[in-house]
Amino acid sequence: MFLLDDLFELVIFGPAKGLAFLGRQVEKEMEVRMGDEQGLHARLFELQLELDRGDISEDEYLELEDSILQRLEVVASRQS
């Protein structure tokens, strides 16, 4: 999921240059703007459709659903 994974390094530096760098600045992703909430509800619905029509696997579904539910929790905790 993250930007700076092996693939990225491979593309930039070529295979021989394996290295670990740059902190996980993408953790910021977990920040949720309030306006996104409707979008998250819609996204949950979409995911199920994608699973039903076989676009994503059960595992992918569970992983994505989990991250959306977590974001919704972030929103809910801010509202209470």
Binding site: L3, L19, F21, H41, A42
Partner: protein, 260 residues
């Protein structure tokens, strides 16, 4: 379990060509409970009995979704957020349906014959990273410089390249998303753009389409896909209830409904 210890879980507000009436459906909702309607004049709430305390979890999402799917073909559906409950039916009528009937009726009329379609644009990762590097002479030069250094050196330069690539990718996302929306947004005016998540995702948009518009929308998507391939792929999901356009919130006690 005694009746009093249960809440009324609300899935949707529906309306039809004619008033819906009180229906005990064959649909099974949360915890296999029977789904029924609570009608009020021209509209009706779709509900089932549910525990007072329940968090939004997988089982809830699934049950909620299945109920909405079964309603969609038959009625105009205004989706209610996952996890919405009132203390009982009387509360639902007195605090939501009666005071908001006119507003909900208008919303039902506005959504009649329409459905939401989600559109996501995503990059093929290996292609976009290569393109970002190739398109940017500064990044390219820095990369070539690092390639000359022994592996134990150049840590700072590497971090810098990483940051530069990330920011170049961000800018590129904006441009590409705009390119797509310039075409689709102009033709299909009822749309909303949501935040994109992750590196591959460049666009998350929702469109509210009339039944008759669907074919045209598909045709435009096909044209765009052809132009954007192979670096960008598009994925369209729908039809679904108009979550991004009318998502109703119903809360227990101080129950209120708020569109948008």
């Amino acid at each position: 379990m005694r009746q009093e210890s249960l809440a009324t879980y609300v899935y949707a507000i529906i309306g039809g060509e004619e008033p819906v009436g009180r229906i005990r459906t064959t649909i099974r909702g949360l915890e296999e409970a029977e789904v029924e309607t609570v009608p009020y004049r021209s509209i009706a709430a779709v509900v089932s009995k549910a525990p007072l305390e329940c968090k939004v979890r997988r089982e809830m999402v699934l049950a909620h979704q299945k109920v909405l799917e079964q309603l969609m073909g038959r009625y105009t559906v205004l989706p209610v957020r996952y996890g919405s409950r009132t203390s009982d039916e009387a509360d639902l009528v007195e605090e939501v349906l009666r005071p908001r009937e006119a507003e909900l009726h208008t919303l039902v009329a506005r959504m009649r014959g329409k459905a939401e379609f989600g559109l996501r644009g995503f990059y093929r990762k290996e292609l976009v990273f290569r393109e970002v590097v190739e398109d940017n002479p500064v990044i390219r030069r820095l990369r070539d410089k690092i390639a000359q250094l022994p592996p134990e050196q150049g840590h700072r330069e590497r971090v810098r390249v990483g940051e530069m690539v990330q920011s170049a990718l961000g800018a590129r996302k904006e441009r590409d998303a705009e390119k797509i929306m310039r075409v689709l947004g102009a033709i299909f005016s009822e749309h909303k753009i949501n935040a994109a998540y992750g590196d591959e995702n460049l666009l998350n948009a929702s469109f509210l389409l009339d039944r008759e518009q669907e074919t045209e929308f598909d045709a435009w998507l096909a044209r765009l896909e052809e132009r954007l391939a192979p670096t960008i792929g598009l994925k369209c999901v729908g039809p679904m209830p108009p979550f991004n356009f009318v998502c109703l919130t119903i809360q227990t006690k101080s129950s209120h409904v708020s569109p948008r």
